[in-house]
């Protein structure tokens, strides 16, 4: 699927791309904006992975736990492992439940788990983390987390780790956003027109060309994902029908078209550097008096044509 081909939505094969976001693993970046918010898509993806039986960890930093769990039914809520950094981000209450090391410590602790199986980590949100942590540290931690499954020779088979990060594009400059998107395996940019949300999914597989696709969707109240066809594309207003397209080849003072006879004559013309066998034979036939290569030289006014070698005048 080339980049240009993938822009179409609606075929059966492509509908699955939004569904299969998590199956690729690695860092999935959800870029949202004020008009098209991404938390509902994040919750929909969390719900889907919970229903698949994966372990789901949520690092909640931006909204409270109650708000995040709202809308999920109880069995999903039981499966979610929620790390709350919203209520007490700087650990002022110094309770035992507080996780050491902050959000990054929690990430590393999740990685050090011993039980196998695929894990999905949802970061709500990466913007909060970017504002509170240095960008390089965050990038290094994310890279360590999302590439953990690619080390061979591990004693315990660690399952695939998917990290879903919600990033509010407008809060950051091009630097951090560019750095994170170069790390991400999949990048989903939310947009849409006229009430219909769309996700532009850019998938970067290592050593392969990136593929992209635009998927129209909507989120149902119970946070399940509903994939849709795009809105009907209106006919673009073409160039003004009153003005016919101008043919630039008319009204020229020279002839751009060849008649058939002329075309034949042109095709049969032998170009100077193309050699047919006759021409080669003609060349190879030894011409009289030609032993070595010749130089045809027309002397001009400033040249003197004495045949002596000027070197003979030298007295070395």
């Amino acid at each position: 699927v080339t980049l240009s081909e993938g822009a179409r939505a609606g075929t059966g094969r492509e509908l699955g791309m939004l569904d299969s976001l998590l199956s690729l693993g690695g860092l999935v970046l959800l870029r949202d904006s004020v008009e098209w918010e991404g938390r509902s898509l994040l919750k929909a993806l969390v719900k889907k992975s919970a229903l698949c039986g994966e372990q789901v960890h949520i690092l909640g930093c931006e909204v409270s736990e109650e708000e995040f769990r709202e809308g999920f039914d109880s069995d999903i809520n039981n499966r979610l492992v929620y790390h709350d950094f919203f209520r007490d981000p700087l650990n002022w209450s110094k309770t035992e439940e507080a996780l050491p090391g902050g959000p990054l410590g929690a990430l590393r602790a999740i990685c050090k788990r011993t039980d196998p199986g695929p894990v999905t980590i949802a970061l709500d949100s990466l913007s909060w983390l970017l504002l509170h942590l240095p960008c390089t540290t965050l990038c290094q931690a994310l890279h360590a987390v999302s590439h953990q499954d690619s080390c061979p020779g591990d004693s315990s088979p660690v399952g695939k780790v998917s990290v879903l990060g919600l990033l509010h594009e407008e809060l950051h400059g091009p630097g951090p956003v560019g750095a994170l998107s170069s790390l991400a395996q999949t990048e989903v940019t939310l947009g849409g027109t006229k009430g219909q949300a769309s996700a532009h999914i850019l998938c970067r597989r290592p050593r392969q060309r990136p593929t992209d696709q635009t998927q129209w969707f909507s989120i149902l109240p119970d946070f399940s994902l509903d994939l849709q066809e795009g809105p009907s594309v209106e006919s673009q207003p073409c160039s003004d029908p009153h003005i016919p397209p101008v043919d630039p080849t008319t009204h020229l003072t020279f002839n751009l078209h060849l008649s058939k006879k002329e075309r034949e004559a042109r095709d049969s013309l032998i170009l100077p550097f193309q050699f047919s066998s006759e021409k080669q034979q003609a060349l190879l036939r030894p011409r009289p008096g030609q032993a070595t290569s010749h130089i045809f030289y027309e002397p001009d006014a400033y040249d003197d044509l004495d045949q002596e070698d000027p070197d003979d005048d030298l007295d070395i």
Partner: protein, 534 residues
Amino acid sequence: MAAVATCGSGAGSTGSAVATASKSNVTSFQRRGPRASGTNDSGPRLVSIAGTRPSVRNGQLLVSTGLPALDQLLGGGLAIGTVLLIEEDKYNIYSPLLFKCFLAEGIVSGHTLLVASAKEDPANILQELPAPLLDDNSKKEFDEDVYNHKTPESNIKMKIAWRYQLLPKMEIGPVSSRFGHYYDASKRIPQELIEASNWHGFFLPEKISSTLKVEPCSLTPGYIKLLQFIQNIIYEEGFDGSNPQKKQRNVLRIGIQNLGSPLWGDDICCAENGSNSHSLTKFLYVLRGLLRTSLSACIITMPTHLIQNKAIIARVTNLSDIVIGLESFIGSERETNPLYKDYHGLIHIRQIPRLNNLICDESDVKDLAFKLKRKLFTIEAGVQWHDLGSLQPHLPGSSNSPASASLVAGITGVHHHAQLIFVFLVEMGFHHVGQAGFELLTSGDSFASASQSSGITSMSHHLRPRALYFKENKSKVGARQLLETREEHLSSRLLILTQAERLCMGRRFFTAFHIFNELPCKGDCICLQTCQTQ
């Protein structure tokens, strides 16, 4: 591993050049007298390390970058002691391939490798190196690729009066002991080659603990560790000459991947005015110092499209020796441009060094595009889109096909003149001029006007070092002296003489040159004089 000192193809140095020439009668160069360098052997000794060869232009020892086309663009290869910086393409698809070709070339040549990365484990990188194309199946690979390449051109209905259509392609022959190999991007390097090689890996997450405190205005800890690691390897293995017992000298190839990305702890990609904005430039400065004092060459890939402060990119370019930028067409509007439909991206050569030289070895072909075919990565150039990788690096005085000279010089048009055209060749390392009967740049008698044995020239005045000026009859003039005196007395750079100049240059002018023959020569030039009259 080739333990025998083979210095690659052709003759690059003074002594052996003429020796082979006289033996094989390939050229008509003949020595005028006893060795100019004298019997005390004060000339440059051949450093015989496998996989290297001296440059014909400035005497530097070169290693291959793994892509013969790239070697040719860089003037023969990457000089030992220099840094090759590759600016990554946006999605980082093609720059790792160049990186891996460099490392694979090191393995095939038997060099020691040092691979540093913050993203991937170096052991994994080495597993993914491309396999070298060996002699027996290389021709087959090339032919099939060539045919695939040629078929779209044959469909073009427009016939061009292009005399190079019929020129034979030069022999391609990557042999294991030679300089420069072709790599098959679809196959992995055989495991036994990796195991037989000597390599060191530096994987940043393993070497550094995350709780290290960073002092401001100094190098980031990742860079410090990497520099220490490189220094240790250079010292312990004697690449800087510190271990005099080592008889077999070898070259260290250093490869650093994704330098400057946030994974190295450097925030130049994240912020415009970060706290360590000088960290990368300091690193490159120290690295260059380490390289210049040891037998090593380094390749660095850097995501410059992510660097926020453009001044840093300019500084990094100045601190590196060779800078090549890759621009892939993916996602840009050029992807649909029919001009570029066969190609995957453009290569921009942003900087080439001037090593022990006043001029740099600039390629005259500026519009280069690359294409990753099924197996091979090729670089093609200019209007002709001729594959640069299929040409052997040519040397003057060898009767190679002139196509090589012309294409290296970027000829886009052929200018014939009834009179001869003076072309000067400035070459380093040759002491004496060729003599009688020397034909250079004749296009193989394939055209009737062989009388116009003027070679191919390019009418660009940027071609200062490329002018070739050849002669037909006997003269014992030292060419170097001629050029040098012209430079000295006329105080003009060597140029291809335009028609106007040639008009002014009568026989008297040649006489003047001959009188000045006795001056000692400072530069190394070859000039072969041509005689207008028959």
